[in-house]
């Protein structure tokens, strides 16, 4: 009977489909031995394994384990040597750096100054990171282990640029082999095993790592992509992951209340701010900008948007920075109304807040509500990140909400944001103020720390008086981890030194 036959066939098909390779993995294994594997949850997939092909924090976490840079930052964001053995500054614009001898890449070949020069040259050309070394005019090989950098002008924060993942040293021979980083070769404490797009990146401990003091601790580190915040926390609770670098603030209590889990918190250097386009009315009026600085309830934002995991921002940089000075504003709707009336808007006005992303949406909603109190009707325009950035660069926005993680040197953040030449770039408020430009140049070329501090102090006050931004808050980095996991370290940027994670 062929009817039966057909049904049997169909059934066989069903069975076959059930044995597709996906199931080959089998169920999770419960090991009784101490775990020798650490799983890190990522909120998004990495974009590239090429250290010069990405510029995002997720990819950085992986790059930092696979590659080394000449310098690195410690958990307090101080520059410490990584590959660099020693360095000197023959002139204001010249830096001679000697690298450690005997550093081996994962394929066994030895790292030389050629590789360093090659990597730096490549970095300058790579679209994603070309701005990192934009101040560097040239790199020369001095000898097998020594290179010389020449900068365009005196550049105080030079060493800070060499901690960026984009300045990772990669083997020249490997790049020339044309593998295109499908199986990247670096020198770092971990070697590459596999990257399953959208799912996970697996790294294995590099037993031959040159820096015996900073050896990888766990034999395997796996980065798992879990886009949903709630799912990340749940994965931590169920033991599917061991550490969540970006724990949703809403889940802090869940982790705190769970004795199997541990919560790590550390202030970041990221300032979330509300910026006004000073080219557009009414925000060309300084009184209006000041009024908004009084009108916005930052406490409410911290409560609602980050569940209290942060502190109010009083200026355009995080307090830990050289030359920081808090601005004069506090939450005062009455004062805001006064200022608005003085500016000619006693009944408020209508405006638009532009931003991107779910977290910022919440901030926008609180601001919207705050502004309602002083009679300003704000509408929120949510855009996709790409579109958002593009609109911002064009200056389409009236106001916007954004966050900025400051580079360790104040100049690296201040110049992009406030230099008139960066209108159409990162100068979000589109401020064109010669006095500000002058102070920025002064600060950047001043190599004496004390003098720099004074300059930046003045600059902070000046900016806050002009009030193109309402700095909102500095968020704490929140990391959730298995209580038994050791070696959890945080820097202002979040989970740090992942090679130290182990059970």
């Amino acid at each position: 009977m062929d009817y039966k036959k057909k049904m049997t066939m169909l059934f066989a098909l069903v069975l076959m489909s059930l044995t597709l390779p996906v199931y080959a993995g089998g169920a999770q294994e419960e090991t009784e031995m101490a775990k020798d594997e650490v799983v890190v949850a990522l909120s998004a997939d990495i974009t590239s394994l090429d250290p010069q092909g990405h510029n995002d924090t997720k990819s950085e976490m992986v790059s930092f384990l696979l590659f080394n840079r000449l310098f690195r930052l410690n958990t307090d964001f101080e520059v410490v040597p990584d590959l660099a053995e020693s360095w000197e500054q023959p002139s204001d614009t010249e830096w001679v750096i000697k690298i450690k001898e005997g550093v081996k890449f994962h394929d066994g070949s030895e790292m030389t100054a050629e590789d360093v020069k090659f990597s730096m040259d490549r970095s300058k050309e790579a679209p994603k990171v070309q701005q990192v070394l934009s101040e560097v005019a040239s790199i020369e090989v001095v000898d097998k282990y020594t290179v010389k950098f020449t900068t365009n002008s005196a550049f105080a924060p030079f060493l800070y640029t060499l901690v960026h993942a984009g300045t990772s040293v990669i083997p020249k021979a490997y790049v020339e082999s044309g593998d295109e980083f499908a199986k990247p070769i670096g020198s770092g404490p971990y070697t590459f095993v596999e990257w399953i797009s959208g799912d996970q990146v697996v790294l294995k401990k590099n037993e031959a790592y040159f820096d015996k003091n900073n050896m990888g601790q766990s034999s395997t580190i796996t980065f798992k992509v879990i886009p949903e915040g709630t799912s990340r926390t749940i994965a931590l609770e169920t033991g599917e992951v061991d550490v969540v670098p970006e724990l949703p603030t809403i889940d802090m209590n869940v982790v705190k209340d769970n004795s199997d889990l541990a919560l790590y918190e550390k202030p970041s250097t990221r300032v979330d701010f509300f910026a006004m386009n000073t080219e557009k009315a009414p925000f060309d009026n300084v009184k209006v900008r000041q009024a908004l600085n009084y009108a916005i309830d930052k406490d409410a934002i911290i409560t609602v948007a980050i569940d209290g995991a942060g502190v109010k921002a009083e200026s355009v940089l995080a307090p830990s920075f050289l030359g920081y000075k808090a601005g004069p504003y506090s939450y005062n709707p009455a004062k805001a109304k006064e200022l608005l009336a003085a500016a000619g808007y006693p009944d408020g006005f209508e405006m638009e807040i532009m931003t991107s992303g779910d977290d910022r949406k919440k901030i926008a909603e609180v601001i919207q509500a705050s502004l309602m109190e002083v009679g300003i009707k704000a509408s929120i325009k949510m855009l996709e990140w790409g579109t958002f950035i593009d609109s911002v660069l064009r200056g389409d926005e009236e106001t916007l909400i954004l966050g900025w993680t400051s580079n360790p040197d104040p100049d690296a953040t201040l110049t992009p944001h406030w230099f008139s030449g960066n209108i159409g770039g990162m100068n979000f408020a589109r401020v064109n103020d010669p006095e500000m430009d002058r102070m920025l140049k002064e600060g950047r070329e001043e190599l004496d720390l004390g003098k720099r501090e004074v300059i930046y102090n003045k600059l902070h006050t000046y900016i806050m008086d002009k009030a193109p931004w309402v700095p909102l808050f500095v968020k704490n980095n929140i990391v959730g981890a298995n209580a038994a996991l050791k070696g959890v370290e945080l820097s202002p940027q979040g989970l740090w030194n992942l090679e130290k994670l182990h059970y």
């Binding site: 009817y3 057909k6 069903v14 489909s17 059930l18 597709l20 996906v22 199931y23 993995g25 089998g26 169920a27 999770q28 998004a44 997939d45 974009t47 590239s48 090429d50 092909g53 990405h54 510029n55 679209p127 994603k128 070309q130 701005q131 934009s134 399953i196 797009s197 959208g198 799912d199 996970q200 798992k224 992509v225 879990i226 886009p227 949903e228 709630t230 799912s231 749940i234 994965a235 609770e237 169920t238 599917e240 996709e384 990140w385 790409g386 579109t387 950035i389 593009d390 609109s391 660069l393 992009p416 960066n422 770039g425 990162m426």
Partner: protein, 308 residues
Amino acid sequence: MIKYVIRRLMMLFPVMVGVIFLVFFIISLTPGDVATIILGDGATEERIKDLREELGLDDPLIVQYGNYMIDLVQGDMGKSYSTGLSVAGEIKQRFPNTFKLTITAIFLSVLISIPIGVISATRQYSIFDNIGMIVALIGISMPSFWTGLILIILFSLKLGWFPSGGMKGIMSLILPAFTLAIASTASITRTTRSSMLEVIRQDYITTAKAKGVSRRSVINKHALKNALIPAVTVIGLEFGVLLGGAVLTETVFSWPGIGRLMVESIQRKDTPMVLGCVIVFALSFSIVNLIIDILYAFIDPRIKSNYS
């Protein structure tokens, strides 16, 4: 039959050309400059200009479309704007996951819904029927991401039966596939029931009964096969719903599929990647429907004779 399949496959080409053009057109409406997005912070005007030229972004849309089609015909889907990886390679990695998820979901739906639909129809207005249909309706009415989150909380957090996400073994497939399957299960059940109800009123069912065929045999042999024809149509259509639903389910369950990839790519304005994903979606949807049409021939000889 083979001729028919070939003809149908040929018909896919114009549709795909249309699909690609449509998506090309829609994406071109998206504000934002690709070059700026790729280069990111602090890119110089000059670099942006160079890159625009390199990517052919200054050409008229129709030229860009033409170039894309020429490359596509040669099997080149281009490189992702945001990661620089080959689109084809990325899709090759991601698509099987979505495929596994949706196929499992469809099988789950079919395995659950057909028996329930049949039993409901043969016991019309019974308690089983009433409850079954109410559950089915609720199933249709639940947003899948909402159900997904609730299932995770219940089955992986509270009960610990299944992993909350990721793609590791059969266990991790169950929750997302089930979430995805719920709505489809509901609508296939309903279709099966109503077509079954219609079939059991047909004359040939009376003929079969008059022959002395037992009740069970009448249902299993005579009615079911006829009732499956509309059900199979719905299964084909539901596959499209599943592919769409995969976008949400994949996000909730951290499933590394192509749906998530597409949404992420849209957000990054990664045109080549979006196009690649849409092509794969449209192709697999069309092919599944072709398979469904061929399946008809197995079920319904009347259709088979039309193929030749």
